[in-house]
């Protein structure tokens, strides 16, 4: 089990990826990044009417973290491709976290548009990390389309419900050979640890950190949880069994 995560041939310094959405105060971001030590940090692309960035990009560049633009909010492959191309031009990276949602209520991925967008972006030279449902068949389709990783959801975006179907996440891990990054739904440290125990290669958390009472504390907790879960996965958990099995010897007891 290699300790360094590689996606598309690039080594990432950490298996925790951090989303920046929802942080009440941008001034907190440097401390959150210090505590999380993230391998990638996501941003969204939005229309602007004034000068660039408002300090976000400067903060991220000062922290020397690789930026992963997303296509959040896109409802079609066409919108997502244009957004990715704008991100590539603005941020000088051909990596993209591809999000194509089916509606603005559930925020669930639209699998049909997602695969189409992934194929188009791979053809245009992007390194595509798609946000997907926890479906091993879709994950394989995305890998076949040339995606560099797949990012199944643990539960709906921002819900904090954790991993609602751990068996599906395990099935996704088993279905593809590219890294699996657990994306949405992380609410607290144990969710991140479970994702890693199930065999995910990394975890992306945004709301869990940015909307915590103490974002810096939660960033640190998630970093430790990812490390703990990864280590536990490597160590091999004991099989579950329905009956007790004593660990102390039964012989020599005081009767």
């Amino acid at each position: 089990m290699s300790s360094v995560l590689k996606i598309a041939g690039r080594e990432l310094s950490s298996r925790l990826f951090l989303g920046t959405g929802g942080l009440p105060n941008l001034a907190l971001l440097p401390d959150v990044i210090d505590a999380a030590e993230p391998g990638l940090v996501t941003v969204s692309m939005r229309r602007t009417s004034s000068t660039a960035a408002g300090g976000l990009l400067e903060t991220l560049r000062a922290a020397k973290v690789p930026i992963l633009p997303n296509t959040a909010g896109c409802l079609s492959a066409r919108e997502a491709v244009l957004t990715a191309e704008l991100a590539r031009e603005a941020l000088e990276t051909d990596w993209v976290k591809l999000e194509v949602i089916g509606d603005e209520t559930s925020l669930m991925p639209d699998a049909v548009e997602l695969v189409e967008a992934a194929e188009l972006l791979v053809r245009k030279g992007f390194t595509v990390l798609p946000y997907a449902t926890d479906d091993p068949v879709l994950a394989r389709r995305l890998e076949d389309a040339g995606c560099a990783a797949v990012m199944p959801l643990g539960s709906p975006i921002g819900s904090g419900l954790g991993l609602l179907n751990p068996y599906a996440i395990e099935a996704v891990v088993a279905a593809v050979s590219v890294p699996v990054v657990l994306d949405a739904g992380v609410g607290t440290a144990s969710d991140a640890a479970l994702a890693m125990e199930l065999g995910c290669s990394a975890v992306l958390a945004a709301t869990a950190v940015t909307r915590a009472d103490d974002p810096v504390g939660m960033a640190r907790a998630l970093r430790l949880a990812v490390e703990a879960g990864r280590t536990a996965r490597g160590a091999g958990r004991i099989p579950r069994q329905a009956v007790a099995r004593a660990s102390s010897p039964m012989e020599g007891r005081i009767a």
Binding site: T20, T42, T48, L57, T83, A90, I157, A206
Partner: protein, 66 residues
């Protein structure tokens, strides 16, 4: 001439760089990307990319997001 910038009608003339200067005070702002009629205009082309009546322009930057 009249173009649409980020869904709003705007009266301008000149190039993409002229439009950016009018909106941001900078002909070559960093961290920005521009699309004209859904085609990306590379940064190095801004100063010589003429705008035409009726075009639809998107000007975007990075914001906080997951």
């Amino acid at each position: 001439m009249r173009i649409t910038v980020n869904s709003e009608p705007v009266e301008v003339s000149g190039t993409v760089a002229d439009l950016l200067e009018a909106r941001t005070g900078d002909r070559r702002p960093s961290g920005i990307a521009v699309a004209v009629d859904e085609e990306i205009v590379p940064r190095d082309e801004w100063a010589r990319w003429p705008l035409q009546d009726g075009q639809v322009i998107e000007i975007v930057t990075a914001v906080q997001g997951g």
